[in-house]
């Protein structure tokens, strides 16, 4: 077996690789943003003192934490079109259906974890901190900005970065429904050229480098902003 990385640079293969990478990054970015928005909404909903709402959010979170991500993707892609209204279905089918469903499933999955991470950060700041900040004359925003967030974010951000890493790796599961991201593309190029070794090396390096960047970001944050001392 001869091993030629230069094969990856050929005009047939390189565009395919780039397309796969671009789709993976796009899927990750879209799912992260949507997931964060839903997470903030969930945190807000939990603050509303209605018990049934609290229960509903808890069920949402537990479903997404305890069911495999790939199964959640399948539920959305194969199952949801059965109950979606016709107009929405038509609208979805006009675009990139696979990408959209994978993005929704990954975003909702991530949102359940994001919401828990944000909540656990907020819980570490006692309510008296806000009262104290307001009583020395800070505005509500000032108290949030100077007192609450600096403490809460130190706790929340490291697990959020770790979860972003998992989300990034989970984008590979979108291949199950035929999203042409990096993993799908890897398999496709392999089938096309039978150069398994080279393609796998390239894909593995791509995932590894991106993951290491995220891990380094997490390590940097931990060092720069260590959790406040309890005293």
């Amino acid at each position: 077996m001869d091993f030629q990385l230069s094969f990856l640079l050929s005009a047939d293969v390189l565009p395919l690789l780039f397309k796969g990478m671009a789709t993976t990054v796009r899927l990750f970015a879209c799912a992260w943003v949507l997931g964060m928005l839903v997470a903030l909404l969930l945190v807000g909903l939990r603050a509303v003192p209605w018990r049934w709402l609290d229960w509903l959010v808890a069920v949402f979170v537990e479903y997404h934490r305890n069911v495999p991500t790939v199964v959640q993707i399948m539920v959305w892609y194969f199952g949801m079109p059965e109950i979606l209204p016709r107009d929405i279905k038509l609208w979805i089918n006009r675009g990139d259906t696979e990408f959209l469903f994978a993005m929704i499933a990954l975003a909702l999955n991530a949102s359940a974890f994001f919401a828990e991470d944000i909540r656990s950060g907020m819980r570490t700041v006692p309510h008296t901190q806000l009262e104290a900040a307001r009583s020395i004359g800070l505005s509500a925003f000032g108290a949030l900005w100077h007192v609450i967030l600096p403490q809460a974010l130190r706790i929340s951000v490291p697990p959020l970065i770790n979860r972003a890493l998992i989300l990034f790796k989970d984008t590979s599961l979108a291949m199950a429904i035929g999203v042409v991201e990096m993993t799908y593309q890897t398999k496709a190029i392999e089938n096309l050229t039978f150069r398994s070794m080279e393609v796998f090396v390239a894909a593995t390096l791509f995932y590894l480098v991106a993951s290491l960047v995220l891990m380094a970001l997490g390590a940097w944050f931990n060092q720069r902003f260590p959790p406040a001392h309890k005293g």
Binding site: V71, M74, K169, T183, F200, A203, Y207, S211
Partner: protein
């Protein structure tokens, strides 16, 4: 949903067994159980953790590279590698189940190693120093002082990791391993029109098992913490 469960419940549980090979949720549990516990991934993780906390530099580096590599790539990629490399390495065809198992063992070893390492780092330094100062060798101190405490403390994390492993096995259907997601795909192609019910039943299987295990892990953690707080 209930009619799907009624009609295909057995297929979800054990696949085509006893006519064919064991499949379904039973096979998912076998795969996760073999992959994480029962002497495959765990010993590897122990060695990795000892290497990472130890003082031999090249071993430390090797273990660190191993851990970061497998934490940094998706399981699907590891499965692809195993599927491609294993037959080349041992020069025969490898059944899908063994391929998936090999991939899961190396993948999970990295995560387990981090858990074991956290357990070792979590003990006060004085434990090792005290053990060494009364004349125990490094190995003796590890075996009879450090590991018994560290391993007890990480039991809840091990249960959580078992939950993650159960969820992770759902992807190996792509190389044809007959576990529960594979069963669901088969049932879906028989039924054609009731995909939502089929996949929600599939989700429910995982949900019940993983939620129970997660709660078990939380309960264990509370118990172990209470034990630590108890005055000696």
């Amino acid at each position: 949903m209930l009619d799907i469960l009624h009609e295909y419940g057995l297929m979800f549980l054990v696949g085509t067994w006893p006519v064919g090979p064991l499949g379904g949720f039973a096979n998912t549990l076998v795969l996760a159980g073999l992959g994480l516990g029962l002497g495959l991934s765990f010993p590897l993780a122990m060695l990795l953790a000892l290497a990472r906390t130890g003082s031999i530099r090249w071993l430390k580096m090797l273990a660190t590279v191993w851990v970061y590599t497998f934490r940094g790539i998706p399981l699907v990629m590891v499965v692809f590698w195993a599927y491609f490399l294993l037959p080349v390495m041992i020069d025969t065809t490898v059944p899908a189940f063994a391929t998936a198992l090999a991939a899961i063992v190396v993948y999970e070893s990295a995560f387990l190693a981090e858990i074991v390492r956290a357990g070792l780092d979590g003990l006060p330094k004085g434990q090792m120093e005290a053990a060494r100062s009364i004349g125990l060798s490094y190995a003796q101190a590890m075996k009879s002082v450090i590991l018994p405490q560290a391993l007890l403390n990480i039991i809840p994390s091990l249960v959580s990791q078992f939950v993650s492993t159960i969820k992770a096995t759902s992807i190996v259907y792509i190389i044809g391993v007959q576990e529960i997601t594979f069963s669901a795909q088969q049932i879906n192609s028989i039924e054609m029109t009731r995909a939502l019910s089929v996949f929600l039943v599939l989700a429910a299987f995982y949900f019940v098992a993983c939620l129970e295990l997660s709660q078990f892990a939380r309960w264990l953690e509370a118990r172990i913490r209470a034990r630590q707080l108890r005055p000696a």
